[in-house]
């Protein structure tokens, strides 16, 4: 905002006058404000990161050092063993495997379902398709807690409670937010290339996989990552369906670590488990930061 103002001054006030009266003071003023803003942002940044750093630091402490006063930010001695101990302290490994099974199967199959449906909604002729689309869109309004009890009954009747299926099956049919997003994106793909492919005798599935999918890949990638992180971090559905520790997803496993080891005051172990749960999404975020940020910004602007 201030930056706009100073540029505005530069554009509208005659050059000589600007240099004499405002130019220099404006720049130095801008610099001073920048320095203050930078300091405040740094302080805020420390607050944002401190709990995560504290987690990592605690995960490397001995049980006793946790209670040291004043607190140690750099553990002494460093207990890397905690990260070895944690694997045998609970079903962490199976938690990771279960979370991977759910997240990968849901997002891979669900993304294809969503993209194909988005293609049909955006580019194919079908009577009443917009009515169907709007009805689907309205379903976003229905909160999961409102339907979770009947859903639980359905899966219980099917004998699927305490398996990963209740977490996987609904996602395979696609994700309405993703369909909405990809449909918007497909507006920028010209109809003519589809017509040309049709004249060449290509079927719709072939058109989808050779023309449409490559064209919308950036949008798919961004939505895919966001969805993956959402499924990976999900907690309410897993806590309803999964009881056996070895069948639980990672989020549940670390929650039960928290419940079990807090009574033994083994905080380093809890923090090590939590940190392990954080690492995969942090890595995904660092790698795909650009896509994630653009996609989020775009979603909000559309909303």
């Amino acid at each position: 905002m201030f930056q706009n103002e100073s540029e505005t001054v530069a554009l509208t006030v005659p050059r000589a006058k600007r240099a004499a009266a405002t130019g220099r003071t404006r720049t130095s003023q801008y610099r001073i404000v920048n320095a203050i803003v930078f300091a405040v942002l740094s302080l805020g940044g420390i607050i944002m990161i401190a709990p995560l750093v504290w987690t990592f630091s605690t995960s490397l402490k001995t049980k006793e050092a946790v209670f040291a006063l004043p607190p140690q930010w750099i553990p002494d001695p460093v207990q890397w063993e905690n990260y070895i101990r944690v694997w045998s302290a609970g079903p962490l490994a199976s938690g990771i495997v279960n979370s991977l099974i759910v997240s990968v199967s849901v997002t891979v199959v669900g993304t294809i379902s969503s993209a194909i449906a988005a293609f049909a909604f955006a580019k194919m002729r079908l009577p009443f398709k917009n009515v169907v689309f709007l009805s689907l869109l309205a379903a976003i309004m229905i909160p999961f807690p409102t339907i979770m009890i009947p859903q639980f009954k359905m899966f219980a009747d099917a004998g699927l409670v305490d398996t990963l299926w209740p977490l996987i099956l609904p996602g395979l049919f696609g994700n309405i937010v993703m369909i909405f997003f990809l449909r918007q994106y497909l507006d920028s793909v010209p109809d003519s290339i589809i017509e040309a492919a049709k004249l060449d005798g290509a079927g719709y599935l072939r058109i989808f996989f050779t023309l449409i999918f490559p064209a919308i890949r950036p949008a798919v990638a961004a939505q895919f990552i966001l969805w993956f992180m959402a499924v990976w971090n999900d907690y309410l559905a897993p806590i309803i369906y999964l009881n056996t520790p070895e069948r639980q997803t990672l989020q549940l496993v670390i929650a039960s670590f928290n419940a079990t080891y807090a009574s033994q005051t083994d905080y380093p172990l809890i923090m090590a488990a939590s940190f392990i749960a954080l690492v995969p999404v942090l890595v995904v975020f660092v790698v795909f930061q650009k896509q994630i940020i653009e996609s989020v910004a775009l979603t909000g602007a559309k909303g």
Partner: protein
């Protein structure tokens, strides 16, 4: 004649394929959303323990709900914890304004402030529970540096809710910051230029240009935050597994979950879940109305 016939046959083929493509999410919607939703409505009028068949009992669940002090307490707690929404909005707007300046480090800060957003809520709740520990938690140790003797945050009926609000603001601030930043960057510059010619100062430009231009994002954030806030559960379940001291942090979803899966009062729980669904529906409907009116005034 023959060409129209051929075209209609081609169209019919296209219709069939399109219908098949669309059928996938439609089927998913019917099985996993529409049917459960109808069943929820039905079950909310029954006495049902989830094991035997539901028995119709009319409005009993609803009358019980309105007389249930825990229901109202949980509703009140849920609404109370939403005070984090305006706090978070103001803070994230200030953040976005700061990061919209031309200076070094903005990309780095954007990442730093966004990290809590992508972190798993379960892990974050665990580490904040630990940070709130009365004797050796991070928060009280920081407070001790300023000579303040901090409370035992989560064990105390007065401080438990604010503790959860603080954590929620910390967790969500990066998301709204990002949306505000995107919106700020799309405000046409000539508006500020015109205002400056008219002699508007920075504060006036902010009030009369920036705020109105950001209002669609603000609306989006307010409504999605309220919908999300109405469903707060994970933090509660992990940080205060028993609903907090004197039931002070029990949220409505936590209470529904408790009634359904711990006490097997499925009929009662679905009645509460239907009320929750209706509330979310009303909030969203209001948003659509306001949003429509709003877009007119912008155009």
């Amino acid at each position: 004649m023959s060409t129209t016939l051929r075209r209609s046959r081609l169209h019919r083929r296209e219709h069939l394929v399109a219908a098949a493509f669309i059928a996938i999410p439609v089927l998913g919607f019917l099985i996993f959303t529409a049917y459960p939703l109808l069943f929820s409505f039905y079950a909310s009028f029954t006495k049902w323990n989830g094991l035997s068949d539901p028995v119709f009992n009319g409005l009993d669940n609803y009358t019980e709900m309105f007389a249930d002090p825990y229901f109202w307490k949980a509703m009140g707690n849920t609404v109370f914890m939403m005070i984090g929404i305006p706090i978070g909005l103001v803070l994230s707007l200030l953040l976005a304004l700061a990061l919209n300046r031309k200076m070094r480090g903005t990309t780095f800060f954007r990442t730093v402030y966004y990290v809590p957003v992508i972190s798993s809520l379960a892990a974050v709740a665990i580490l904040w529970q630990w940070a709130y520990n009365g004797d050796f938690g991070l928060i009280n140790q920081v407070l001790a540096m300023f000579g303040i003797d901090g409370p035992n945050w989560l064990q105390n009926a007065e401080t438990a809710k604010p503790a959860i609000v603080i954590m929620a603001v910390w967790k969500g601030i990066g998301f709204s910051m990002l949306l505000y930043l995107a919106a700020l960057q799309s405000v046409p510059r000539h508006l500020y230029e015109a205002a400056a010619i008219d002699g508007a100062n920075a504060v006036q430009q902010f009030r009369h240009i920036t705020i109105p231009m950001l209002s669609p994002v603000t609306f989006f954030l307010v409504v999605t935050s309220i919908i999300g806030g109405a469903q707060i559960f994970i933090e509660i379940n992990i940080m205060t597994p028993t609903g907090g001291p004197e039931f002070s942090t029990a949220s409505i979803v936590w209470y529904i979950w408790q009634k359904a899966f711990n006490y097997l009062q499925m009929g009662y729980a679905t009645a509460m879940s239907v009320v929750l669904g209706l509330l979310v529906f009303v909030i969203t409907a209001i948003q659509f109305q306001i949003n429509r009116r709003f877009q007119f005034s912008i155009d």
